[in-house]
C-alpha cells in the first residue's frame, strides 16, 4: 500500500488555506459564542463590520497642525512669494519635489511612479512587482486556539462506540480514493485489455525496481521540479520517485489543430492548457511509448515493468527522449501563442 502522505506537494496547484486545529468537533464550534470583535477582516466583509474607534476619532482627525499646503501658503505669505493655490489642492508629487526627506518617506508605489515619470525606464524591467505576496498574517488561528485554551474538555457526543475521527478526514479515507492518486492513475494507464490485476502487479514491480536500483544521477541540463529531494532520498520513497519523474516531464499544454481556421486548408495550431491529471497522463503515455520500444533483456512476465522502470530512471537522469517531446510541444505552444484568443468571444 502506498504511503498516504504524498510529500510532493509542489506540483499541485492547491490554494493554501490553513486548516482549523485538529481535534475540535465542529458541532461544538456552533455552540460557542462568537468573539465580539473579529481580529481578522476579510476582503469581502461588509463595511458595517469595521471596528469603531472609542472616541470617534481617526488617526489624523486631531486639528493640531495645518495641512501641508496651508502651511506652505502661510510661509509664502510671510516671505512674500506665491504659495500653492489652496483652492485646487496640491498633488503630492509637487509637495515632495524639492523635499528629499519627504520623498524618502513616500510609499514605494508612489516613489516608483514618480521615478518612472522622470527617468527613462530600463529595458527588461517592470516598474511594478509581479510576485504575489501571501498575506499569511491575514489568516489568523486565534479563534481556534482560543477555544482550546478555554480548557473545556471536548467530550464526544454520547452514543458513539469508537472515538471520533480526526477532522478533516484525510483524502485517502474515501474508499474510491484510497491509493495514492499518481499510483492509481499510472496503474490504470498500464492496464491493457482491462486486466487491472496484471497492471497492479506491474506497478508493484516498477516500484520495486525503483527501490532497488541505485540512486539516479540527476543531470543539471534537465532540471527536475524545484523543491525535489536529493536523489539519494528517492529510492526509499518510490512513489515520490515515480511522481517526480512524471511531473518533471509533464507538458503544460497541448496543441489543438483547428481545421480551416487559418485559411487555405491549413489547420490553425491553438495551444490549450492542460489540467494536472491531463499533464500526468500525457507524460506517462510518452514514457510508456518509449518503454515499449526498448528491447527486453530478461524473459518472463516482469519484462515490461522492468522497461518502464528503466525509462522512469532515465527520465530522472535526463537521458530520456521524453524531454525532447515535451520541449517540442512547448516550443510549438510558444510559437502559436498568437492563436490563443481564436474563437474567444469578446
Amino acid at each position: 500500500m502506498p504511503p498516504r502522505l504524498n510529500l510532493l506537494l509542489t506540483p499541485r496547484v492547491i490554494a493554501y488555506r490553513s486548516k482549523p486545529a485538529v481535534g475540535v468537533w465542529r458541532a461544538q464550534h456552533a455552540s460557542k459564542p462568537q468573539p465580539t470583535i473579529c481580529a481578522v477582516r476579510g476582503f469581502a466583509d461588509k463595511s458595517t463590520d469595521l471596528p469603531v474607534s472609542e472616541d470617534d476619532k481617526g488617526p489624523n482627525t486631531d486639528p493640531g497642525a495645518p495641512h501641508v499646503s496651508e502651511e506652505a501658503a502661510a510661509m509664502a505669505k510671510v516671505t512674500g512669494g506665491s504659495g500653492p493655490d489652496l483652492e485646487q489642492g496640491t498633488p503630492v508629487q509637487e509637495v515632495v519635489k524639492d523635499d528629499k526627506e519627504a520623498f524618502d518617506k513616500l510609499p514605494q508605489v508612489m516613489k516608483d511612479s514618480i521615478r518612472a515619470k522622470t527617468a527613462n525606464p530600463k529595458p527588461q524591467t517592470r516598474p511594478y512587482s509581479t510576485s504575489a505576496i501571501r498575506r499569511a498574517d491575514l489568516v489568523s488561528q486565534e479563534p481556534a486556539e482560543s477555544y482550546l485554551q478555554e480548557g473545556t474538555e471536548v467530550s464526544p457526543p454520547p452514543g458513539l462506540r469508537f472515538e471520533l475521527p480526526d477532522l478533516p478526514l484525510p483524502s485517502t479515507s474515501n474508499m474510491e480514493h484510497r491509493y495514492d492518486p499518481v499510483v492509481a492513475q499510472v496503474t490504470n494507464l498500464l492496464m491493457r485489455d482491462g486486466k487491472l490485476s496484471v497492471a497492479q502487479r506491474n506497478m508493484a514491480l516498477i516500484l520495486q525496481h525503483l527501490r532497488t536500483a541505485s540512486p539516479p544521477q540527476v543531470s543539471p541540463t534537465r532540471p527536475l521540479l524545484p523543491g525535489a529531494p536529493p536523489p539519494s532520498h528517492l529510492p526509499l520513497n518510490p512513489v515520490l520517485y515515480l511522481t517526480l519523474a512524471i511531473d518533471s516531464v509533464a507538458p503544460l499544454l497541448r496543441i489543438r489543430s483547428q481545421r480551416g481556421a487559418a485559411g487555405g486548408g491549413v489547420a490553425l495550431q491553438i495551444p490549450v492548457p492542460l489540467g494536472l491529471r491531463q499533464r500526468r497522463r500525457q507524460a506517462m503515455q510518452w514514457i510508456l511509448d518509449a518503454a515499449s520500444k526498448k528491447q527486453s533483456r530478461g524473459s518472463g512476465r516482469g519484462g515490461f515493468a522492468q522497461k518502464v522502470a528503466e525509462e522512469l530512471v532515465s527520465v530522472v537522469e535526463g537521458r530520456s527522449g521524453v524531454w525532447d517531446r515535451r520541449g517540442a510541444v512547448h516550443k510549438l505552444g510558444v510559437s502559436a501563442r498568437a492563436n490563443l484568443n481564436f474563437g474567444r468571444k469578446r
Binding site: 500500500m1 502506498p2 504511503p3 498516504r4 491509493y179 499510483v183 496503474t187 497492479q200 502487479r201 506497478m203 508493484a204 516500484l207 520495486q208 527501490r211 532497488t212 536500483a213 541505485s214 540512486p215 529510492p235 526509499l236 520513497n237 518510490p238 512513489v239 528491447q295 533483456r297 530478461g298 524473459s299 518472463g300 516482469g302
Partner: protein
C-alpha cells in the same frame, strides 16, 4: 452535288518501279545492313500507363497493392542462450538502498533455542548465506532482494525447530526427527526450511537439500533404469551430479574433515583416504559415476561414528513434497507412467522420511509442501489429515474414500510421519516483522497497533507472504 470531273479520270500515283534492292542485298555482306533509324522512340519500351479511373480494374495476376513490410530494426547484441532465464532466476540478496537495521542479532549456535528471540527478526551469518545459496535455499520469488542483508523472523515454529536440533544432539541413542511442513500459500514453509538449514549449518551438520522436487518428476532431466532392481528404479544422473556439487560446495567445512572409512565398489579408482568433499566433487564432475558416488557418500555419512571418525548429524530437506507423492511424467520401457517413488533419488528421500532407512548418527528429515501450481495429490492430503488426527489423539482417524483409488505407496510412506502445520503469524510476530520492515526503510508508516491490526487482517490472519506483499511490495 457530284463533282464536275470524273474521279476515275484523276491522275493517280504512279506505280513504284521495281527497285534494285535485291541486287544490293546480294552484293553487300549482312553485317553492314545494320539499320540506321531515327525512330528510337518506337523501339523504346512503352511507358506504363499510370492507373487512373479510366483504366479499369487491374488485370489478373498483376500486383495492384504494394505494402512494404516494416522491417524490425534489431539493435545491440541479442541475448546469449540461457541469459534471459538466468536473469529471471537471479537471486539478489541485498538492497544497498535499504537501511541497515541497528541492533539486529545474528543466528548462532548459542541462540537457536533462545525463546527471547521469538517475534524478532534475526540475521543470517555471512558464511551460512554462501552455503544456503549453494544448496539453493533462497527462492527467486522471496523478498530477500528488498533488504540490506538476509534475515528472517523467528516465529514459534522456528523455535520448535531449534529445539528439535538440540533434542537430536543431546539424545542418548541417536534420534531422527521426521516432519512434513504444511500450510497455505505464502505461510512461510520454504522459509522455515531455510531456517532449519541455517541452524544446521551453524551447528556443523551436513545439509542435503532438494530445492524443488518438481525438477525431479516433471521430466525435464534425463533418466535411465538402474540394473538389478525390482521393481525397476530409475536414476537421474545429471541431477545427481548437480546435487553432489551442491553438497560439496555447501558443506565443504564439514566434509573436508571427514575421510573415507569403508570399502566401496565404485566404477572409478579412488584414493582410500580421500576426504568426503573431494569424493563428492569426483561425482559432480562425471554424471556417469554420480549415482554410485552419491550412494557411497551417503553410506559414509551414515556410517556409525567411532572414536576416530565422528560423523555429524544430517539434515535432509525437500521442498514440494506433493510433486513426488504421485506418478511422475517419465515413462517406462513399456510406456507406462513411472511412479515417483521408483525414481532413485526420490526413493532415497522417501526411505529417510518414512524411517525405512535410519540415520544412525541422528538427524532431521524435513519436507514441505508447495502450494503454487500444485498437482492434485489426494492421497497426500488424506495422509496429512490422518497424521494430524493421530497426533491430536482423535477418536476417528479420516479414512480413504471408498470409491476413489488411493495410492498405497504414499499412504505407507507417510504412515508415521508427523505434520508441522504453519498458520498465520500472531499479532506480536506480525508487529516484529513490520517493525523490521519500517527499520529497513521499506515501510513508510508508523508501526502502531492500528496499522498492525489492519495489515494482519488484510493478510488473511497474518499469512506472512501476504503481509510482506501488502506492506512492503506495495502490491495493491
Amino acid at each position: 452535288m457530284p463533282p464536275s470531273t470524273c474521279l476515275r479520270c484523276l491522275p493517280i500515283r504512279p506505280a513504284p518501279s521495281p527497285r534494285p534492292v535485291l541486287l544490293c542485298h546480294i552484293a553487300l555482306p549482312p553485317a553492314q545492313t545494320a539499320a540506321f533509324s531515327t525512330t528510337t522512340n518506337l523501339s523504346a519500351a512503352v511507358a506504363k500507363k499510370r492507373p487512373n479511373s479510366h483504366t479499369g480494374p487491374p488485370k489478373r495476376g498483376v500486383k495492384a497493392l504494394n505494402i512494404k513490410k516494416t522491417q524490425r530494426i534489431k539493435s545491440g547484441r541479442p541475448p546469449a542462450p540461457g541469459e534471459r532465464k538466468a536473469l529471471r532466476k537471479r537471486i539478489v540478496l541485498s538492497n544497498t538502498n535499504a537501511l541497515e537495521v541497528q541492533g539486529m542479532p545474528d543466528l548462532s549456535d548459542k541462540n537457536i533455542t533462545d525463546a527471547s528471540l521469538v517475534c524478532r527478526v534475526v540475521g543470517i551469518p555471512g558464511l551460512v548465506v554462501d552455503s544456503l545459496r549453494a544448496v539453493e535455499a533462497f527462492k527467486p520469488t522471496q523478498g530477500w532482494g528488498l533488504f540490506r542483508r538476509p534475515a528472517a523472523l523467528v516465529r514459534k515454529e522456528t523455535l520448535q525447530l531449534g529445539r528439535y536440533i538440540q533434542e537430536v544432539e543431546t539424545a542418548e541413542g541417536k534420534k531422527t526427527i521426521r516432519r512434513v511442513v504444511v500450510g497455505e500459500r505464502g505461510s512461510g514453509k520454504s522459509t522455515l526450511l531455510l531456517q532449519a538449514m541455517t541452524m544446521a549449518f551453524v551447528k556443523g551438520w551436513v545439509v542435503v537439500n532438494i530445492p524443488d522436487a518438481k525438477d525431479l518428476t516433471i521430466g525435464h532431466t534425463e533418466y535411465g533404469p538402474l540394473f538389478n532392481t525390482n521393481p525397476t528404479q530409475y536414476v537421474q544422473k545429471t541431477y545427481t551430479a548437480n546435487l553432489l556439487s551442491q553438497i560439496s560446495k555447501a558443506n565443504k567445512a564439514v566434509l573436508s574433515k571427514l575421510q573415507l572409512s569403508q570399502q566401496h565398489d565404485l566404477p572409478i579408482p579412488i584414493q582410500s583416504n580421500i576426504s568426503l568433499d573431494r569424493l563428492a566433487d569426483l561425482g559432480a564432475r562425471d554424471p556417469d559415476v554420480a549415482y554410485p558416488i552419491f550412494q557411497a557418500l551417503w553410506a559414509e555419512l551414515t556410517a556409525p561414528s567411532t572414536k576416530g571418525a565422528v560423523r555429524p548429524p544430517i539434515l535432509f530437506t525437500l521442498d514440494g513434497i506433493n510433486q513426488i507423492m504421485r506418478y511422475s511424467a517419465y515413462l517406462s520401457s513399456d510406456v507406462k507412467p513411472i511412479h515417483a517413488h521408483d525414481l532413485a533419488l526420490v526413493r532415497h528421500f522417501i526411505n529417510a522420511l518414512s524411517g525405512a532407512q535410519a540415520l544412525p548418527n541422528g538427524g532431521i528429515v524435513l519436507a514441505a509442501t508447495c502450494e503454487s501450481g500444485k498437482p492434485p495429490s489426494p492421497t497426500l492430503e488424506l495422509a496429512v489429515a490422518q497424521s494430524e488426527a493421530r497426533v491430536a489423539g482423535a477418536e476417528e482417524v479420516p479414512q480413504p474414500h471408498p470409491y476413489k483409488a488411493m495410492d498405497q505407496r504414499v499412504l505407507d510412506s507417510m504412515r508415521d510421519v508427523e505434520v508441522l502445520r504453519l498458520k498465520g503469524l500472531d499479532k506480536d510476530e506480525a508487529r516484529g516483522i513490520m517493525e523490521y520492515y519500517a527499520a529497513s526503510g521499506m515501510l513508510r508508516e508508523r508501526v502502531d497497533e492500528g496499522l498492525v491490526a489492519e495489515k494482519w487482517t488484510l493478510a488473511g490472519g497474518g499469512v506472512v507472504g501476504e503481509l510482506e506483499r501488502e506492506s512492503v511490495r506495495m502490491r495493491i
